[in-house]
């Protein structure tokens, strides 16, 4: 346990020193604040809780931005240290390989959690200070959004680690990271939409569609936030979808957690067999 914390703490300190933490936190805060103010402007006079609108905007922001940050942070984690020669020395110490991998992952996940909580928290504080009435249900939805964002970031960090242990070259790892982002964040939904249109509802039923959506962590995240809370789905335009989705919030969270654990476990197995 101590070893894990030592390695994680080193990773966090590295993040602080090379300004990763500051840069991501500022970026998240700036985008979150912009979205919460601009996104609320059209509905401001209607008198509904603007938090829901902010949640919808921030969820979309998370889906695009957080995977990118997570992958950029993690693709170099293993292959880069092997390349620079720091891994040889580290592994000659009394540490197991899985401890190195999990420790570094915990450090990177902590950086993402810190940036997300602080960045999105700033938007929450701004909303609270703007004086509008915000119910406890809305705050719960907001907190759930932040929590699931961290989980999504962790899932893509884990995938970045997998890419990083899979290959022997930093450039290849970077390429795989970009491909993961393109496929899961951009192309997957388009392909799914195309499939639905082409199929015309003949073979793809609701059950299969749910399965396909769960096979992508970004979609699991979207479903969790946009259909999980009734007040939010009204604003997201997904109220109809929410009625169709038979997947409970806890299942969606479990799927996200699985997307953290599975790539990490695979990376740990690959790394333990690696001949440095």
């Amino acid at each position: 346990m101590n070893t894990l914390l030592t390695i994680a703490a080193k990773e966090v300190r590295d993040g602080l020193r090379n300004r990763w933490v500051v840069a991501t936190t500022l970026l998240m805060a700036a985008l979150a604040l912009t979205l919460s103010f601009l996104g609320a402007a059209p509905t401001g006079t209607v008198g509904v809780g603007r938090v829901e609108v902010t949640i919808v905007s921030l969820s979309s922001l998370t889906i695009f931005l957080l995977p990118l940050i997570a992958l950029l942070l993690s693709f170099d984690a293993v292959v880069g240290e092997i390349d620079r020669g720091t891994m040889t020395l580290l592994l000659s110490y009394p540490v197991a390989r899985w401890q190195v991998l999990i420790g570094k992952f915990l450090g990177h996940a902590a950086i993402i959690a810190f940036a997300t909580v602080l960045g999105y928290g700033a938007a929450g504080v701004a909303l609270a200070m703007s004086g509008s009435e915000i119910g406890p249900e809305s705050w719960r939805a907001f907190a759930a959004m932040i929590g699931s964002s961290v989980l999504l970031g962790a899932a893509f960090t884990a995938m970045g680690y997998l890419a990083s242990t899979l290959v022997r070259d930093r450039g290849t790892a970077a390429g795989i990271a970009v491909a993961i982002w393109l496929v899961l964040v951009l192309l997957y939904d388009m392909a799914l939409l195309g499939l639905l249109v082409a199929d015309g509802g003949k073979t793809v039923n609701a059950g299969l569609l749910n399965g396909l959506l769960l096979a992508n962590p970004a979609d699991a995240f979207r479903l969790f936030n946009l259909t999980g809370f009734k007040s939010v789905s009204q604003f997201a335009g997904t109220a109809g979808l929410a009625a169709q989705v038979q997947v409970s919030a806890s299942v969606l969270l479990a799927v996200l957690a699985g997307w953290v654990a599975a790539p990490l476990a695979l990376a740990a197995v690959l790394f333990s067999r690696r001949q440095i």
């Binding site: 080193k10 720091t86 580290l90 110490y93």
Partner: protein
């Protein structure tokens, strides 16, 4: 010697793809022994050290370090007693010298209050310790590398090309530390290209070539094996220099003959074959086979 062996390598081969990095090497190292391993780049020195560190597993044969398999899951207690100074050592540039040593001390579960003494021992100034490693010169990085290798008083110490890029004064203090460790019972395995500086430092020399061990023994034993001629340089009173050569076994007889029967001399110089020459000889013999 078998009882005190801290490292035992038996019939070890290591293959990467089609290429053998190490072939059928047998090697025993005892406590309190300083062994130099010499060879070209790619002769298998670093590969052998990685096997002994348990970073890689042998394709064939077995490696035992301090009585256990260094690559097994239970190797933690072995690694706590092993120090390693890698070739072209790299540290995280954003950490200071002190943070770096603290980090490694925590991983080795060694109390950190001994770190100041370690810094002093390797000659890193307190001012340098507070600076980031990224600003260090090669010599300072190498001192820090030695400091981390000495953490916890290792029973086995691997030094891979430890003195490349060090100035002569630093080299001397470096070998002084190595000597102290050896006298305290540490097994030291030293890899180097710089053969001349190993003379007088190592109790034993292991010559590697293309993954094979081609020679193993003390400098004197290797000299006997190589049977390289000893050169005798004679200076006449007039300043004229004459050089002659003889076999190592005939050295004393030849010198006596020269002294008793030869012409008047101002100086006699006996030049033993250097480690460099012996190394070249073993490689030639290996190539001829």
């Amino acid at each position: 010697m078998t009882d005190t062996a801290t490292i035992r390598v038996e019939g070890v081969s290591k293959r990467y793809g089609d290429a053998f990095a190490v072939r059928e090497v047998d090697l025993d190292l005892a406590a309190g022994e300083c062994v130099a391993m010499v060879g070209h780049n790619g002769a298998g020195k670093s590969s052998l050290i990685k096997l002994m560190l348990g970073l890689t597993t042998p394709t064939a044969g077995s490696v035992r370090v301090l009585g256990g398999d260094p690559a097994s899951a239970a190797a933690s207690h072995i690694r706590r007693q092993v120090g390693f100074l890698p070739e072209s050592v790299a540290f995280h540039p954003s950490m200071t010298g002190r943070e770096t040593l603290d980090f490694y001390a925590r991983l080795k579960r060694v109390p950190r209050d001994g770190n100041d003494a370690l810094f002093e021992r390797v000659g890193l100034e307190p001012a340098a310790v507070k600076r980031r490693v990224g600003t260090y010169s090669k010599g300072m990085r190498q001192r820090l590398a030695l400091a981390q290798a000495l953490l916890g008083g290792p029973k086995v110490l691997f030094l891979d090309e430890p003195t490349t890029g060090l100035d002569p004064a630093l080299r001397q203090s470096f070998y002084e530390i190595v000597r102290d460790l050896r006298d305290a019972g540490t097994t030291v395995l030293l890899c180097s290209h710089a053969l001349t500086e190993l003379e007088g430092q190592a109790d034993r020399v292991v010559v590697m070539n293309r993954g094979r061990k081609v020679a193993d023994g003390s400098l004197a034993t290797l000299r006997g094996l190589a049977q390289l001629p000893v050169r005798i340089r004679l200076t006449r009173p007039s300043g004229e220099v004459v050089e002659t050569a003889c076999a190592n076994d005939d050295k004393v007889a030849t010198l006596r003959r020269i002294a008793c029967e030869g012409p008047e001399l101002a100086d006699i110089e006996v030049v033993q074959p250097s480690l460099d020459e012996m190394y070249a000889h073993f490689l030639r013999r290996e190539a001829a086979e």
